[in-house]
Structure formats: C-alpha cells, structure tokens
Amino acid sequence: MVAGEHAPSGGRNWIKTVAYAGLIILLFLLPLFVDSVYYLHTFIITLIYTIAACSLRTILISGQLSIAHAAFMGLGAYVSSIFARELNWTPWLTIPLGGVSAMVVGVLAGYPLTRVRAIYFSMVSLFVGLAIVALMGVFQKYTGGDIGLIGIPPLPSITIPGLPTINFLSSKIPYYYFFLLLTVFCLMILHSLENSRIGMSWKAIAQSYLVASSVGINEAGFRVLALAVGCFFAGIAGAGYAHYNMVLTRSSFGFLSSVNLLIYVLVGGTGSFFGPIIGTTVLVIVPEIFRWLKTFAPFVFGGIMLLVVFFMPQGIAGLFEQVKTKFLHFQERKKPRDVS
C-alpha cells in the first residue's frame, strides 16, 4: 500500500539525463521503424494508459489506493466529447476541460473520502467509481448509454506556417506524436510533483498519517490534492482517448477497467516512478503480441501477473533494485520475513 521511498540519487546524474534524452529521442523516432498502423495504435493506447497509470500512482503514493481511476478517465472523456460534440468546442479546449471536470469531481468526492483510510478508502472509492459509471448510464441522452457515443470530433488539424498542415485524420502518426508529447509533459509534471515538498508530504502521510499530522502536515488537504492531481491527469488521458478513439462506451470505464489500471501500477511496481510506465508497456503490448492465441490469450496476461508477484516482490521496476542489491550486497541473501 505504501509507495516506496526514493533512493538518493548518486553522482550519475548525467548518465540519467543522457538516458532520458535517448529514450525520448528513440520514442520520437519510433514511427520511422514502425509502419504498421496497428502497432502504432497499440503504442498510442499504451501512452494513454501510461498517463492514467502514472496519475493513479500519484494518488497511491499519498496512501490512497483508488479503485475508481478509470471512472475519472471516463468522466474526462465524456465531458470533453460532449462539449466538443454538442457545443462544437474545439478539442484543444475540451481536453483540458475534461481534465478539470474530472479534477472537480475528484475533489468533491475526495473531501468526504478523507474520512476513510486504507482499505476503507479503496472500497468507498470503488463505489464512487461505480456511481460515476452509473451516472453515465443515466444521462443516456448525452452519453449514449451502453451502446456508446459516436461522432466525437477528432483533433482538429494544425497549421504551422512554413510546414505542411498536420491532419489528424490522415494517419495515426500525428496522434502518436500528440500523445507522446502529452505523455512526456504529464509525466514531467507528475515527476516533479512527486519529488517536491508536496510529494514528500504525500509519502509521509502514506507512511503514517498520525506522524504526518503531528509534524504539521495537513493530511486532508494533501490527500485531496493528490486526488485532484491524479484525477486531473486521468481526465486528460480520458479526454485524449475520446478524441483519438472517436467512440466511447461506458463499460470501458467500469470496475474491471479501474482494476486493470491498478494492475498496471502494481505489476510495474509502486516503489518507482517508472513502475506504472513499465507495467503499462508490458501489460498492454505483450498481450497484443499474443493476440493469435485467441481464447488462450488471457493466460498470457494472468501469467505475467503471477510471474511478477512470485519473482518480483516490488514489481517489475523493483526487479532492477533487486538485481542491484544482489550484486552489491550478496552477503544478505536471506531476507527477513515481512512483518507489518
């Protein structure tokens, strides 16, 4: 439940910077190697869920295991598409609006939710998520109910003087870059938040809310703040998804979807900022590779989960830490049993 603490960064900062830059450049060059629209689609979905999973982890590091995150994603998606569809607002405006509305609902739900902690928080959040999805069913006139909402406008084309017009309908490559930029942007904010004073307060609350309160951290305020930030980015991810997918169904945001996001985070590892990124990448892309297994395909997904649980106690991201510890401190092969 408690997200791990940050290991102090050593003097290898330049390596880190180079590696970050390299990775991002690689991701930018990816469409040159991939000419399958289908794989590009998979990458785009991965990027969208990466934003959602990372924002879920932001809530998680404040000690709140939310099982409503997909619902907030859906909220952003529906708000953005309804405004774009019914009022003809431009998606450039409705996507942030989707994020803001998810944030507002997150805050509204968050204040009463600060009354409950740990597993009770998870459970009430589960019901909040279900209620949001039920709400989408009630306003069928705007959301299309279970059948779904279509006719969501795509992102409008961008004209930059001197360059050819970027038309989002022409291929998936503009979308890929849009989501890559969006992901990098969102993750940078989330990352700096986590390493700021606010992030430290979140982690302190997660460790012990009593201790945190005793040193003057406003527990309720920070918890709501974590929810607000997490829901905002979930809303952004959802809204982006809506304008990419151009069709929405409320069943995409239900209990099982929220649980899926949670799986991405937990399998990736909650201890590291990279956990959800790795988890989402592995759990979205690997099952797609094994699509040909048809009815046997779920075994791949379940298998990865079990593999991680049995061999990587801290998630996939924790594996690196584990390996490092093994090499550096091989004298302590016997780890103490975990006792809370």
């Binding site: 302590e332 016997k334 103490p336």
Partner: protein, 235 residues
Amino acid sequence: MLLRVKDLSVYYGKAMALENVSLEVAQGAVVTIIGANGAGKSTILKVLSGLWPSTSGEVYFDNKKIEGMEPYEIVSLGLVHIPEGRRLFPYLNVLENLKLGASLRKDKEGIKQDLEGVFTHFPILRDRRKQKAGSLSGGEQMMLAIARGLMSKPRLLLMDEPTLGLAPVMVVELVSVIQAINKTGVSVLLVEQNVFLALQVAHRGYVLEVGKVILEGNIDQFRDSDLVKRAYLGE
C-alpha cells in the same frame, strides 16, 4: 543452559538490527536485557519466538536448535513470548483470551486447573472474565497478558516491556508478580527500558546498544556499573 543464543545477527534489507549477539538464560533464572529504544531488544525476542527470521547465528532452547521453527513449535517447547503492547485479542473476553493461551494443550483437566491457578493469582481477572479484553485497564491488561502466557505452560517466559504504559503502583506489583512466577520454576527473560524494575527482579543482565551487547554480567555488577548508572539511571 535453558536458552543459548550464539552470534545472532539480523538485517532488515540493508539495515542492521542485531549483530553477533550472544546471550544465555540459565534454568530458573531471571535475565534482563536493557537498552534504549531501537537498540534491538524486541528484535531478539521476535527471533526467539519465531516471528522473525535471523540472518545468521544459532539459537538453542533446551539444547534443541529452534532457529527456523514455526512459532507454535517454539511455544510447544515451552518458550512463551508476551509481546510488546500485550497484543491481547481486544474483542474477545478475558476467559477466551486465557483459553487461547492454552491453544496447544490437549489436557482439559490441566487447563482447568491452570485456569483456577491463574484466577487465584490474579483475582481481578476472575471478576472480569466475561468482559472484553479491550475494555480492561492497562494494569488489568498486563495481568491478562501474563496470565495468558502462563496458560501455555511456559518454561521460559519472554517479556517485552511489560511496564509500558503502566501506572507506577502497577510497576511495583509487577515486580512481585514476576518473582512469584519465577518461584514456580519458570525462567524469565525480561526486556526493559525501566531499569529500576529490571535491576530489582533480575539475576543477570545484558546491555544492548545499537544491535550489539556492550555489557553483560550479574545484576550486582550492573548496579555498580558506571555505564548503567550514567546511561539508564541518570545518576
């Protein structure tokens, strides 16, 4: 020797909790481990009772290697641990708590007798036997915790900070309780921050500091030790 601990080390991940701790408890003795908060006193007891694994070292109880055994196996040998904070079952009544102390025993008659014995020892528990353990006062809870430990027919009783949260008048009573228990032939390993109590009841002592034994000896030596005086008696 009833209990022999040899070169016990415990690590949590990279952090050291105990390093090469050796100690002994003789049959019938009251031995105390004193040390500041976080010195690793509780860790020793947790390793002894099987709650925590050790990183290295050996533990012999009655010449049997108990390291790596399950907690219930250790209890069945007669090594009983009364944990820090008592760890009663707050939503069960006193009688049920006591019965749970005898979980491993099959002799119904013996249990009945011991229950009577415990009640004569601690008459207050008889009056409260239908009351939830969580609703007892601190002193009563301590009584119950000790009584529950006695129900397991211990040969060695490990007591972790029994004075924690007790009124001073109860601390005095605790001394006589421990002495009375010891008189019935039960050895006691007492972990304490309250050095006054420890010095009053123990025959032998160890001083633990940051995971290492820095002093050991008979309790008389302790009373005279400058180190103990300075560090724990504030003289």
